[in-house]
Every structure is written in C-alpha cells, then in structure tokens.
Symmetry: none
C-alpha cells in the first residue's frame, strides 16, 4: 500500500438494510453470528438494526453488548425525530440511545418532495428537525452519522434544498454525511459530480450508500470514491430491498486490488469467499454461482480454446489471482471437452495420468458418449472422477443394483404408498430389501441405504443436500429424458453426481449410486492399501 | 426521442458467448426459438454461434436460413485465420462463409502477450493475420465486425500494439471495431479513456463487449457509450462465461430511459420482463428475483414505513415506472395474491367477476394456500383459470382420478416395466385401466388418455410439448417437494398447467389432469349450452 493511500471506511448494513430484502429473515442469534464474522473480517462499522422498529432489533442490541469486537464499532439506525420541538422525548431517538452503541446513524429527508409530502413540513422545519435530532444525540455523547435519504434524486430536483439539509446535519455535529441513492436509479457520472460538490460544501468526510436498481450500485460506489468519498455503506452479497444494496463482496476487492491509492481495514482479503458463503448459509439461500470474485463459476473456464492457454499462463485469462479472494480456478468438463480439459481436470483432482497410454483417449470417448446421451459433468464432478478412476483401474463399484422395483399408490380411498424394492449385489451376496419413503426417490434412497449399511456403515454420514431435475429434449413431453443432479455432503465436503434416463426414477438411482460409491471410494482411499475393501466379485 | 439522438446498435450474443456459461446448455431448437424472440424484441444483430467449433452451431446456421427476421441481422462468430498466408483455405474462415450470414464477427489478439504466447507470432505477423482475415471475408461480400480480444488489458500493457491491430482490421475493411474486456476486470474510468482514444484513432463506429468479473459490466458499457461508442454487445440475463457477459436486460432500459440523447431499435421496452423470463424458461434456470428492472422483487416494497407512501405516490419510491419495462409494483405486506391481482388477471383472461360477491375473496384464499404449498401460476395460466372458473361455477372437472398405481421395474436380468394403473371416475362410471410407457410419467399420460378417449374423443388433439420439473426446498434432498409444469398444445393454442407434490409422479399427474380438463373446458365452452356435456355426477 502506498504511503499516500486513502483509507476507505467500510460500513456494513447487512443486518439492517440487508434484511429489507424479500425472503430475507435473520434471527437474533443469526445476527450475532454475522456481526462477529464481520468484525473478524475487518469492517469498521456494523449497523445492527433499527431498535425502535421491532423487538428483534432491540433484543439484538441488548445481546450485542456482550460481543467483543476487535475493531468494528456497532451502530444503531433510525430516523430523525418526529417533531423538532421535542427531540429529547422522541421515542425513536430514545430507542437509539438505549441501544448503547458508540455510533448512531440517523436518516433525514433531503428530497424536497419527500419532506413536503411524507412529512408535510416546510423546508425550514425539516432543516431544524435534522439539526436538533443530530445535536441531541451528539450531546448524549454519541458519534452521529447522517444518512441523507434520497440525496441524489433530491439534489437533481433542488440542489439548494438538498445541500441545506446536509449543512444542518453538519452544524448539528454529524461526523459523516452519507449520500444515499435510496431509489437506486442514479448513473455513475451523476454520482461523481454530486459527491464533488458535497465535499466542497460540507468539508467533512462523505460516504456513499447505493442501491442496485439500475445494476450500477458497485459502479456508483466506485464513482463516489474516485470523486473523494471515503466511507462506503453496503451489504454482504448485496442483499437488500428490491434489487439489493451495493455489494461489499464486490466493492472490497475492487478497492483493495484495483483502485489505486486506497486501502481498507481488511487484513485478510483471502477470507472474502468464505465470508460470502457464510452469510448465504446463515440466510439459508443458495449462493450465487456467478457472483464476481467469490462465485463458484467466477474463475471457471469452459471455452475449449482457452483451456490449454489458461493452463499455460492463467494471468492472461483471469483479471486477478483467485487466491487473493479465497477462490480458485476451475476448468469445466463440458461437451467442448478435449484431451487438455480432461488432463487439467485430472491434475486438479490430484490424479496422475500416465503420459503414454490410451487412458485419456478412452476417457474422452466415454465422456463424449455420455454427453451425447445428455450427461453433463458441470456440478457432477464426483461422477466424473469415478469414470476417471475406473478407467485408471483404481475404482471398482462397491455394490451393484441388479433389480429395481418401485411401487406408488395414491387415491381418494386408497392408502398412499411409495415403496422401493431393490436387489443389490454387495459383498458377494444379493441383498433383497424394501423401504417406504416420502415420494419414490426418497424410498429408493432409503432402500439403498438399508441394503448397504451393514457392509459399509460409512454411508450413514452421507446427507443429500440438493436434488435437481432437468428435462432434456423438453419438446418430447412426458417421454423426454431427464437429468438428475444430486449434491451430497458428509458434513465436511460436498460432492455432486449425475444420472440420465427417460425414467426419472432410474436417473435418480444412477445419481444416488454414484454419490454412495464416491463417498465410499474417498473414505476407503484414505485407508492403508491392505485394508482396501474392494469387493472381490 | 430527441432529433439529435444517437442510435445505439444492440448486438446480442446470448446464443454464442452466453452458452459459455456454466450449466448453460441450449439445443438447436432452443436457439432458433430465442433468435426469433430477439428479433421480435428489436435487436439489431444476433450472433448465432461459432460454426466451426461444434456441429450444433453448424446445424443452427443451416436451420436459421428459414427464419425470417423483421430487422435483425444474423452473425456468425469465429477467430482470425491460423496462418496469414492461407486465409482462402482456412477451415475456420470457410466455416464462417458457409454459415451464410450477412455479418461475420471475427476476433483477433490485441494484447501483445497473447499474440506472443498463445499464437507465437510477431507483431507484424499478427497485424497481417487480422488484415488478411478481415479483407478475405469482406471480399466474399460479407460485412465484417472485428472483436478486439483483450483490448483493454492489451492497451494498458502496450497502447501502440493494441491500436495497430485495430487499424489492421480497419484497413482490412471491418465496419465495426468492438473493444472487448475479455477478462472482465476493467474499471469504468479506464474504459472511458480508451474508448475516446480509439474513436480518435480509428474513425469508424466503435462497440463495447464487457464481462462482469468486477461486477462492472453494465457500468463499463455505459461508460463506453458516454465516451462515444455506438454498438453494445451483451447477453440476455447476463449469462456467459465465469461471472457472465454484460446484461442487455439492464443495459437496454438504462440506454432508453436514462442516458440522454440515445435511442435503440427496440420498439416495445414493455416486453423486457417477458423476454428475460422467456430466456430463463428455455434455459430451465430459475429467474433472478433480484434482477434490476425485471426481477420479481425489483419493485417490491417491504419496508413497513414505505408501503403507505409508495401507494400514495410511487414515483417518489421507484426509479422508473415498472410498467415501462413490463414489470409491476408489489407490496410485500401479505403473501403474493391480493384481490387486485386476481381481478387484474381475470380481466386479462376475459373473465367477468361480479363486483359484490365472495368469489374474489375465496379465490384469493385458495390461491394463497396453493402458493404456500409451492404452486406458481406464471407459465401455468390454464391451471389458474380452472381455479377461477370453478369458483365462478362455470367449470366442473370432467373426470376424477380416484386411484393411481405406478409400477416400475428395471434390472440386469429383469424386464423393464413402466406401468400405470388408474381408476378414473368418468361419465358416472369407474374406468379401471392400465398402460405401459416410456418412463412412469409417460405411462400415466397414456393410461389417462385410454380412460378418457371414449368419453371425450377431443383429448386426442392434445400434445404435450413441454415438461419441466423444478425441485422446491432443494436442501431437503430427495424428500423435497417438486413442481411440475406441463405445456400442452392442440396444434393451434398452447396452455400451461402445474402440479406440486413431494411425489414427482403425483405432481405430474396433477398437471396432466389440469391440462386435459382445460382442453375439454375450452372445447366444450365453444359448444352451444344445450350440448354441454358436463358430467352429472
């Protein structure tokens, strides 16, 4: 970092503005866990909630007193008082004080139309409301940040009004003026111009709070920083109302790796991918595979022409080294697959392939044939690895399903039945076993486990965490082929497997078998060779 | 549009660069369907594929000759020749000519390191390769666009080299120079500066092709346009390799609604949301609810404080009127279905609903309950209409499946069986019927037809043209609920129906039943009342 580097403050509002997003729901415990992580990662400010808006946020601030942050300051959020005359008894402001946070962020109207129509007050009255609200909180010993709601729209509409409101907050003692693009529709060049003007006028540090309604939240944030702003508000993974808030997961690496002359308090950017995943997990949301910097696909190369070149010199094909943000390069085995893709993949999986052998050629042919049938190994790397290991002679299936019967009954007066009956060859014997389930695929899963558990107690650890069905050749209607992708986990690792058939039950069973075989293969491979329990049959 | 408005050309590469994305897979038929839609929407150029890279793209270009575009020009894509000396016999260039498109887009290296390391040739040789490749295609009567691969990185590294390559393309006769941020890591201010320079130097129209690795693809595109570029390459929904291409679904409304003095050939921006959904459907990908402009949440207001204000004057809370892009405002107070939605939908279907009745309330409750179970009526309007007509008393089911048995057998030595046995109440009697099929769902379909054909010969006309399965609550693994969407046709009209269950067979049967009932309902409704064959039971 250069000596002149400008420190950019990171202000996270995942726990407040983030939770305004559709389907976003965080418990108090979730919020505490996330807050700790944010501090660990290196945020300067963590906005915990709006205490007087709901009891959950009040509880959060009480429990948060026990958190011991390494560097972050906790902030509570709320609006200016309702009436300028009675700020000292305003329930919202009192709620903010009761949250006992060192920093309080309050928002006020800086778009004249909002002041007039929503609050129904004069310009003077609004200015006084802002001034008094800020100075009251300040007089109680708190640092106060002022969020200028709808600033960019307000400035476009009436610059003197918008600036007057900012100056009221400065006079009241606010230490930061944060310009909010509340409706999220501003363009970067507008942000640049207005931030410059505000910096000239106010003379205190200026922040940016943008929303993604125009798909420009990250760009607007960067434009503000380039214009001189030094404080960034955003959320992890860009969660938030409508299209979301500015995504800190994209903004932070842009600041640290690309914007010259800027720095942050983040000490290990390499934990960025982990942080993103952690928040998705807590939210119980699937992560965005295409997310810049941290997505599973962010450094995944598919184009056949690229692959050999990527292997030669990856800096020519990647805008940053993925390790800098804790991500990694991947090469996708797809129908564009040539020998170099397969070799790369093998290398990635840590599998040595003899230079001079037909193995690669056989694998390429086998994979092509399967792809022609509708197989796809993106997201089913475990199935791919089994093919590879089988061809190399290091894997033999641990069992074989020799007969499958599934029986389903439902009806008004009938009993609902979802039964699977399997004959499974395992340990040299045929296990003939049946199970009921919640739907036919679940019944199959249960039956297969029942057949294997005595031979391979390790399969107990397998949890199926994701199940996807894609209909191929959709235009063939109900007789179309389907591809089933299953994601499994043993608590530490996850792996994906695939099956294809015109019969969805069959396709599911193929993916299930691969999942169990893969788990057994990896567990057994970890054992000394002598104990290898490959079946003798 | 102002008189001075600058026309921005839209170049869609969903069918080529888009398919480089992970999990993106389009059949030839899919590509043809999308191409037609893109033309209808108003794209100027549609890049169909890379003919010599795979047989699928070659087949596409053959079939695409029958498409009659209203305004778009079809483009094929490929690289410069391998050797400057033999452009006339280069298989890649010949493949491009054989695609018979009026426009050919070829890419060449404009980053010196790539030219040196990937191609292993001198600067002069690369310049000649570009010049000769372009001029050969041009001499064959095609318009040639030059995609300057890795231009921004190349210019940063060695401006004279990068510009020299552009000039070679111009000298060869290229009519557009498209600057590609191939690795996707450039910042908007860099794009601005370099586009300006290129415009000064080349003197021909300049385009921008950006990728989203820095979460800035849309911003970089806008920066290029503001700097004077007049041609935009991107994909629908931003699909594409790694983090995706620049998202045309975000760029187009930004151009048309925000960038002053610009226009496009799009004649009805109101179809934007539909276009986005259509492509997601074809890709069998869930749509991004948070997508700017078109996402389901893009105009969804959750903040309690906002809601009443939003209803008062929505322009204060929305950056654009959602109707401009075919989206709509939602208020997330309750579940999705409100009375006004239902009324709106009924009106759309041409169904009169009495003003004062409990019908609407009952429907709202019923739909809410179904949505809670995982139903969704986007793309399943026939199922929705049946609910509406049933509540209004104008529809009674034509039959009832009272018992379902499905039996599946497979195995090494066993015979493969996919059998469905149904008891169907129809015309006051129970039909007990069985059928074999190609997979269990196909067996069900056949059995149901067998049971109904004597009573309702009209069902013969029904063809199932699409069958889709989506797993809900994916994290529940094999016991998750699934939603089946079926699209049917009678040769003239198509209609969609839906079923939800933890049992995929059951979900499929529900959607099948709705499809047949809907067809019978519409056929019978067309008959005079006296002939109405509604069952008496």
């Amino acid at each position: 970092m250069s000596v002149q580097s400008r420190k950019i403050e990171l202000y996270d509002t995942t726990l407040r503005d983030g939770t305004q997003g559709e389907h976003i729901n965080l418990s108090v415990q979730d919020k505490l866990l996330i807050a700790e992580r944010l501090d660990e990662f290196g945020m300067d400010y963590i906005e915990g909630g709006w205490p007087s808006s709901n009891p959950k946020d009040e509880e959060f601030f009480i429990k948060a007193r026990k958190l011991e942050f390494k560097q972050a300051k906790l902030c509570s959020f709320g609006s200016t008082a309702r009436f300028a005359k009675s700020v000292e008894t305003d329930p919202n402001l009192l709620g903010l004080l009761q949250s006992e946070t060192p920093v309080i962020t309050i928002f006020g109207k800086t778009w004249q139309a909002h002041s007039e129509k929503s609050l129904g007050i004069s310009d003077e009255e609004n200015a006084e409301l802002i001034y008094r609200s800020v100075s009251f909180l300040k007089s109680e010993g708190r640092e106060v940040f002022f969020d200028a709601e709808h600033f960019f729209d307000g400035y476009k509409n009436n610059p003197p009004f918008a600036l007057k409101m900012l100056l009221s907050a400065v006079q009241g003692g606010a230490s930061r003026i944060v310009l909010c693009d509340t409706n999220g529709g501003s363009l970067p060049h507008e942000v640049t111009e207005m931030v410059r003007h505000v910096l000239q006028v106010t003379g205190i540090p200026v922040g940016i709070h943008s929303h993604n309604d125009g798909d420009l939240a990250v760009a607007n944030t960067i434009a503000a920083l380039q214009a001189g702003a030094t404080h960034v508000q955003g959320t992890i993974n860009g969660i938030g109302e409508r299209c979301g808030n500015a995504n800190l997961i994209s903004i932070i690496p842009n600041i640290m790796l690309k914007l010259e002359g800027t720095s942050t308090s983040v000490n290990n950017l390499g934990k960025l991918t982990q942080l993103s995943k952690f928040v998705y997990e807590i939210l119980n949301m699937p992560s965005n595979t295409r997310a810049p910097f941290v997505g599973k696909s962010a450094f995944a190369h598919k184009g056949g022409i690229h692959v050999s070149a990527v292997m030669k010199e990856s800096s020519l094909y990647e805008h940053i080294d993925p390790a800098l943000v804790g991500n990694r390069q991947r090469v996708l085995v797809s129908e564009l697959a040539g020998q170099s893709n397969i070799r790369y993949k093998a290398q990635e999986l840590g599998i040595a392939i003899p230079e001079k052998s037909d193995v690669i050629k056989n694998i390429v042919n086998h994979v092509k044939e399967l792809e022609h049938k509708g197989y796809q190994f993106d997201g089913a790397e475990a199935s791919f690895e089994l093919i590879l290991q089988k061809e190399l002679g290091s894997f033999k299936p641990f069992f074989e399903v020799v007969e499958t019967k599934v029986h389903i009954e439902s009806g008004k007066d009938a009993k609902n039945v979802d039964q699977a009956v399997l004959k499974v060859m395992v340990g040299g014997e045929i296990e003939h076993i049946a199970a009921d389930g919640d739907g036919p695929v679940n019944a199959l899963d249960k039956a297969l486990r029942k057949a294997l558990i005595h031979f391979y107690p390790e399969i107990k650890a397998i949890k199926l965490i994701d199940y996807k069905v894609r209909v191929l050749e959709e235009k063939r209607g109900t007789s179309a082929k389907v591809r089933v992708l299953i994601e499994s986990s043993n608590g530490r690792n996850t792996w994906g497997t695939v099956g294809v058939s015109t019969n969805i039950i069959e396709a599911s069973l193929l993916a299930l078998q691969d999942s169990m075989n893969y788990h057994l293969f990896t567990v057994k491979a970890a054992l000394p060779a002598a104990e290898s329990p490959l079946p003798q049959s």
